[in-house]
Amino acid sequence: MKVSDSQQGRTDRRPYEICAVSELGPGQRVIREVPGVGRVGIFNVDGKYYALKSVCPHHGASLCEGPITGTTRAVFGKAGPPKTEWVRDGEIVRCPWHGWEFDITTGKALVGFRWRVAQYDVVLGPSGDGGAPISAPSVGLADGEPDPPSEVSTFPVVAEDGTLWLVI
């Protein structure tokens, strides 16, 4: 299989076999140790595939092994204290070490807005849309304090002949 990614100007990308399509149903995830990349989590969220490098930008935990969950949103009413609403069920992965929440579909941390795990596009089929990895903005936390590494790479995923391939 040959995959090119013109958006990145890369022609050397190669597929890495993940698993059979049937093995990664909605709501499920697999973790793969990918040569040259490291640990990557591949998620099926409502039939769409997402791949995140499984390194939390906070302290390097294997982020993608954390709970797949939803999150809360505040509802501010006219009277009384704000209420809590459960939203985005199945679209959030919570780091197993310190509980930071990340949006599986974008790689962005839900807190701080300065934090993002690098995300890899998942591509369905040989003619799927690759897309470019999303880069994280580099924003200082405070006077002179450097940002911790805040990015995990994202990869396309290709489904071909009943098998999922990670394109690295």
């Binding site: 906070h58 999150t71 809360t72 949103r73 505040a74 501010f76 009384g80 204290p81 704000p82 809590t84 609403e85 780091c95 310190h98 509980g99 930071w100 929440e101 941390a109 839900l110 807190v111 701080g112 405070a142 006077d143």
Partner: protein, 352 residues
């Protein structure tokens, strides 16, 4: 000091307990001898002969002469002062607490605020224990432009972010007034004040940990989302500890990154409410003595826009502008002596 200075924290005193008692309702005043005086006289300028000359007042308690304070202002370049009378801290009887607050407001309005209009600004003391009583007292004064803020005591039965207090903050915000939290330093009195580590038995201990009470209220206000519900509301913390606030809110920010889902109404990093919604009055004991290092601390804390100058007149730990000026250079923190206060207290009339 070339800029006209705003003193964000002066503590006027009554000339005597009898003077103050005359503002209380009879049912309270007549029982005065039976319990702790409602006005804290404890740690003011002890002993008097060691206090600076400007705190001494002929025939009365230190800090009880408006003209003496005006002279001090003129001598030190202070143009305007926000007067925040101390009270008795957490008064167990909520009705008595409301009477005492009302008496302080009546007394301040009559004895101080007309002495120097446009230079003296008052504080509406409220007891936050009972919101209905607090709201009634607020409405009695909020339209009086001589008052620039509301003051509540730091001593409380529950942290100020909790829902029981919200109607008070909501009404204050609607009037466009800031709220100052000040310890009444009543912790050495007969009424023990509980902390998470028990009751500090001496002045030394409670004075040391005073800033933490203010920061605990601030953490509560942030974590309960009060500043998202009332984005224009500003709290001023009068007992120092600006660097302690940064340290503790940094800690809160760290935990919030993992626990955000518990408090989804905290829409930004807890640190980021400093300045927009929280201001601190500098304390003589804040930070290192060396001016260069103190200035560095202010810079590290990002406090240039939310640190206010206040004298704490006439307390023993008061500051005069020339004490603190070298530590907070005007060229680095142009708002410290004036601009930050004007931003905090919109009722101060500047003529500019």
């Amino acid at each position: 000091m070339n800029v006209p200075i705003v003193d964000a924290l002066a503590h006027p005193m009554p000339t005597s307990m009898a003077e103050f008692a005359s503002y209380l309702p009879r049912q309270l005043a007549s029982r005065f001898h039976r319990f702790t005086p409602p006005f804290n006289m404890g740690p003011v300028a002890p002993p008097v002969d060691e206090a600076a000359a400007w705190t001494a007042t002929e025939g009365g308690l230190a800090g009880s002469d408006p003209l003496a304070y005006l002279r001090f202002m003129d001598e030190t370049g202070i143009d305007q002062a926000v007067l925040a009378p101390v009270s008795r801290g957490l008064v167990p009887d909520v009705r008595a607490a409301a009477y005492i607050a009302a008496a302080i407001n009546d007394w301040l309005a009559e004895k101080w605020l007309d002495v120097a209009p446009g230079r003296f600004y008052g504080s509406i003391r409220l007891s936050a224990r009972e919101p209905a009583l607090a709201l009634a007292e607020l409405e009695r004064w909020a339209g009086d432009e001589r008052f620039a803020q509301v003051v509540v005591t730091q001593e409380a039965v529950a942290p100020y972010g909790q829902e029981q207090y919200f109607p008070i903050w909501e009404a204050i915000a609607a009037h466009g007034l800031p709220v100052m939290v000040v310890s009444d330093r009543a912790r050495e009195s007969l009424t023990p004040v509980q902390t998470s580590f028990g009751t500090p038995p001496q002045f030394l201990q409670y004075s040391t940990f005073l800033p933490y009470g203010g920061v605990a209220h601030l953490g509560s206000l942030i974590a309960e989302g009060i500043f998202e519900r009332l984005p224009t509301l500003k709290f001023v913390f009068a007992d120092g500890g600006f660097a302690d606030a940064v340290t503790l809110l940094w800690r809160m920010t760290m935990d919030w990154r993992g626990d955000r889902a518990q408090v989804p109404w905290v829409l930004k990093s807890p640190m980021d409410y400093l300045g927009t919604n929280a201001r601190f009055v500098v304390h003589a004991a804040d930070g290192p003595l060396d001016p260069a290092r103190f200035d560095k601390l202010v810079s590290l804390c990002g406090a240039r826009d939310w640190l206010l100058f206040g004298t704490r007149f006439p307390y023993w730990d008061s500051l005069v502008p020339s004490d603190i000026g070298p530590k907070v250079p005007v060229e680095h923190s142009p708002g410290f002596f004036r601009g930050n206060a004007l931003d905090t207290y919109p009722r101060l009339v500047t003529g500019e």
